[in-house]
Amino acid sequence: EAGVVQSPRYKIIEKKQPVAFWCNPISGHNTLYWYRQNLGQGPELLIRYENEEAVDDSQLPKDRFSAERLKGVDSTLKIQPAELGDSAVYLCASSRSYEQYFGPGTRLTVT
């Protein structure tokens, strides 16, 4: 069974530029999560989808972050404009039940 796929793996951008991350969850997993992991910290949830519906986006900074999950499969997380403090690893995870499985993450560096 293929795992969660994320791209790109690394991204370096200048502040105020836009950036987008893509995630393909494990086949059959209806729930998809986007997390942010700062250096030396645990993952923090940004948004959770049940199929194509965002059921929890309370931690998503909506002034600059947006996400979508078209057709309830792949998902895209966007930041526009990026700020220096957005430098982190952005992780996607998916689940069918309680167990959440993470992708390799996208390491974002904002200069």
């Binding site: 729930t31 645990g42 923090e44 929890d56 309680y98 993470f102 992708g103 390799p104 993450g105």
Partner: protein
Amino acid sequence: QQQVKQSPQSLIVQKGGISIINCAYENTAFDYFPWYQQFPGKGPALLIAIRPDVSEKKEGRFTISFNKSAKQFSLHIMDSQPGDSATYFCAAPLGGSSNTGKLIFGQGTTLQVKP
């Protein structure tokens, strides 16, 4: 905001020794407590999890012990190996019936197993 408190922050163990990492949580929506293992440059990988209708779960060298009354759970790594050197995260589900599936992660424990 609810927290999961994980300790120690770092741990050095000799090969063959026992590694013990502890977590304390507040209120939870339901009983499900996973541990994740993360290597540098990789995403967290689900290591072992417990649904505490039992107080302990063992998978190979890894054991979760759970104390519901104390709201604590721990990870024990028996016969620790250099390949176990990684960062370990505990997690607990956020309290409240509307928060099903929302995990709160601990700060992580960096384990180094010396040969």
